[in-house]
């Protein structure tokens, strides 16, 4: 099943890589499946004359449902009938194929460069119509429309908002020394449609999304030393918000977007600060001889989690967002660093291990359980999807840095690989406000 699936994906990736615009496209692999996932048949959508035939909406929907780990889309080769609407579904066929749900749909050309995808979701067992809906969009954004269909299906079945129609940011690097080049990129959550946000001959790192998804904060060495920029993704306009002596790193927008947590060393040693983005006033939050960095906000904006080696080795600590009440959070593993927090604040994922091997682990704050969800030796930079169903992280394979997307339970992984060069420091963007 997976061989066939990968072949299909490879063909899709090849087709996209053929276009020069997509020279930096990512390819997809699914190294392991999930037998306990919910079986769902996404029947190839009927395509009206004139509708874009080069991109299969149902393939994108099926792939989305597969990679989140909670579903198992029926392989295309096993789909023996092609109903396009609910009235055409012969339910005994899908019961025989042991499917729990079935999605059927139609891609309609609505003229003026627009398409409309009409789709229906049924339970196979009691033949119940759960959803009949239509999503319209630009023909050029057919992948975005497909992700929104997947989000609607996901939410109807799980009760949780889908996060397939979101974007990710990451940094690519090529070459070394004087031939080095770095780029900050933004792509769809499945790695398609990569776009350059900024390029530099000097290192770029630590991209962080504003909560409205319109801006990225990042650290750049283009001035010869580190500085933090905030850039509008749509217009490209940007400004330096911090270029103090020493390290200006690890920016993180507060949940309401009004403040930026960051790590500043002032040439001495890094501490956590919070900048009011209106006045640019700085408040020092930690004051310690240790390295304090990688701040992230709890969803309520009241607590900041960060990495500190004040105990000798890096561990995750927390502090009130206005300062005070510092306490250690992680106690499993020799070292823990670079936390990411789930939307409900209940889970913390981080890079965990010793100095020679580390993987991504998820800490459940209520139970205290600690679950490794990655299998590499140098896995870092985890970033939760806005609904916490999946995470992105950076891994090292050979001498190459690659990105993985992994389901929150660690059961399904998907590798996002650049055509050439390294990919690193992924950041999963917020729910998308359409119009962006």
């Amino acid at each position: 099943m997976h061989t066939r699936f990968i072949t299909r994906l490879a063909a899709l990736a090849l087709a996209i890589c053929a276009a020069p615009l997509f020279a930096q496209s990512l390819t997809l692999e699914i190294p392991n499946g999930n037998a306990s996932a919910i079986p769902v048949a996404v029947v190839p959508f009927a395509t009206q004359t004139g509708a874009p035939g080069d991109t299969s909406v149902s393939d994108i929907v099926g792939n989305d449902l597969n990679r989140c780990g909670q579903f198992r889309a029926l392989p295309k080769a096993d789909i023996v009938e092609s109903p396009a609407r609910g009235s055409e579904i012969k339910f005994p066929t899908w019961r025989l194929l042991k499917q729990d749900y079935i999605v059927v749909g139609r891609v309609v050309d609505s003229g003026a460069g627009e398409v409309k995808v009409e789709f229906e979701l049924y339970t196979v067992g009691d033949q119940k119509n759960l959803l009949s809906s239509a999503i319209a969009g630009q023909r050029s954004d057919i992948r975005g429309v497909a992700h929104r269909v997947a989000d609607a299906v996901y939410e109807k079945i799980t009760g949780v908002r889908g996060a397939f129609d979101t974007r990710i940011a990451y940094v690519t690097a090529k070459g070394t020394g004087n031939n080095a080049s770095y780029a900050l990129m933004v792509a769809d959550s499945d790695g398609y449609g990569p776009q350059q946000v900024v390029t530099s001959r000097q290192p770029l790192l630590s991209p962080a999304w504003s909560p409205d998804g319109r801006k990225l904060a990042y650290e750049s060495f283009e001035r010869g030393s580190s500085a933090i920029y905030i850039q509008d993704i749509g217009t490209g306009a940007r400004e330096v918000v911090s270029a103090r002596k020493g390290i200006n790193g690890a920016p993180a927008f507060s949940p309401d977007g009004s403040r930026l947590a960051l790590s500043l060393s002032n040439g001495v040693n890094p501490d956590i600060y919070v900048m009011d983005l209106g006045s640019r006033a700085l408040t020092q939050i930690t004051r310690n001889y240790a390295i304090d960095t990688e701040p992230v906000w709890a969803p309520d904006g009241a607590t900041i989690y960060f990495t500190s080696d004040r105990g000798g080795k890096p561990q995750i600590y927390q502090v009130a967002a206005g300062g005070g009440g510092e306490s250690r959070v992680t106690f499993t593993g020799d070292q823990n660093a670079k936390a990411t927090i789930s939307w409900d604040g209940k889970k913390i994922a981080m890079s965990q291990g010793n100095k020679n091997m580390y993987h991504i682990a998820v800490l459940d704050r209520a139970s205290g359980s600690n679950t490794p969800i990655s299998t590499g030796n140098f896995d870092e930079s985890p970033s939760f999807a806005p609904n916490a169903s999946m995470l992105l992280y950076a891994a090292t394979e050979g001498s190459r840095d690659v990105l993985y997307a992994v389901s929150a339970d660690g059961r399904v992984r998907q590798r996002l690989v650049l055509a050439d060069g390294d990919v690193r420091t992924p950041a999963w963007g917020p729910y998308r406000q359409r119009g962006q």
């Binding site: 070394t176 080095a180 290192p203 790192l205 630590s206 060495f221 010869g224 030393s225 580190s226 020493g246 390290i247 790193g249 690890a250 790590s263 060393s265 040439g267 001495v268 040693n269 890094p270 001889y289 390295i291 960095t293 990688e294 990495t307 080696d309 890096p314 070292q335 660093a337 670079k338 890079s351 100095k355 020679n356 580390y358 030796n377 140098f378 870092e380 930079s381 090292t396 001498s399 690193r424 420091t425």
Partner: protein
């Protein structure tokens, strides 16, 4: 404790100054003469003939200091290197260096920037203690972003845990 270590390091660096590449101990140049607002630099006096020494002198040509894992202490084998650069900076007060701190790939990127800065600061303190002015010294940490070696083994990591002395002004 950390301060004590830095102090010991700088004392060692100062002591090593005299031993630098068989050169004689460097005499401090006379202070600049103030002529009613016009400051004139004294004629060059010191062990080095001029900026070309940076390319020719075997000690000055060494510009990388390597570190142990997670450590910022400077090994004694690098004291001579620190001392001769300090002597050069002292002789040419207009010269400036950037001390580029680097870490190996292990650990997170932001944390490694902190580690690279610690190493840069350690070298900066040692060079200052050996006679350079702090205004001639600038520290930039690249963390793990500028490796010279990309293999995943100790031999390679050793090469990446380093501070590079980069002259941004030679005299």
């Amino acid at each position: 404790m950390k301060n004590l270590r830095v102090l010991l390091t700088t004392v060692a660096a100062t002591a090593a100054l005299a031993a630098c590449s068989g050169k004689k101990a460097v005499k401090p140049p006379p202070p600049p003469v103030d002529n009613g607002g016009v400051t004139t630099a004294p004629a060059q006096s010191g062990p080095y003939s001029g900026p070309e020494a940076l390319d020719k002198d075997s000690c000055l040509r060494q510009r990388v200091i390597y570190f142990d894992l997670d450590k910022t202490e400077i090994h004694s084998e690098f004291q001579a290197q620190i001392a001769c650069h300090a002597a050069y900076l002292r002789q040419f007060p207009g010269a400036k260096v950037t001390l580029e701190g680097n870490a190996d790939e292990r650990g997170t990127r932001d944390y490694n920037q902190g580690l690279g800065e610690r190493r840069g600061n350690s070298v900066s303190s040692a060079v200052a203690a050996a006679g350079a002015s702090t205004s001639q010294l600038n520290v930039v940490s690249y963390g793990e972003e500028k490796p010279v070696c990309r293999e995943h083994n100790e031999e390679c990591w050793q090469k990446n845990r380093r501070v590079e002395i980069v002259y941004t002004s030679k005299q």
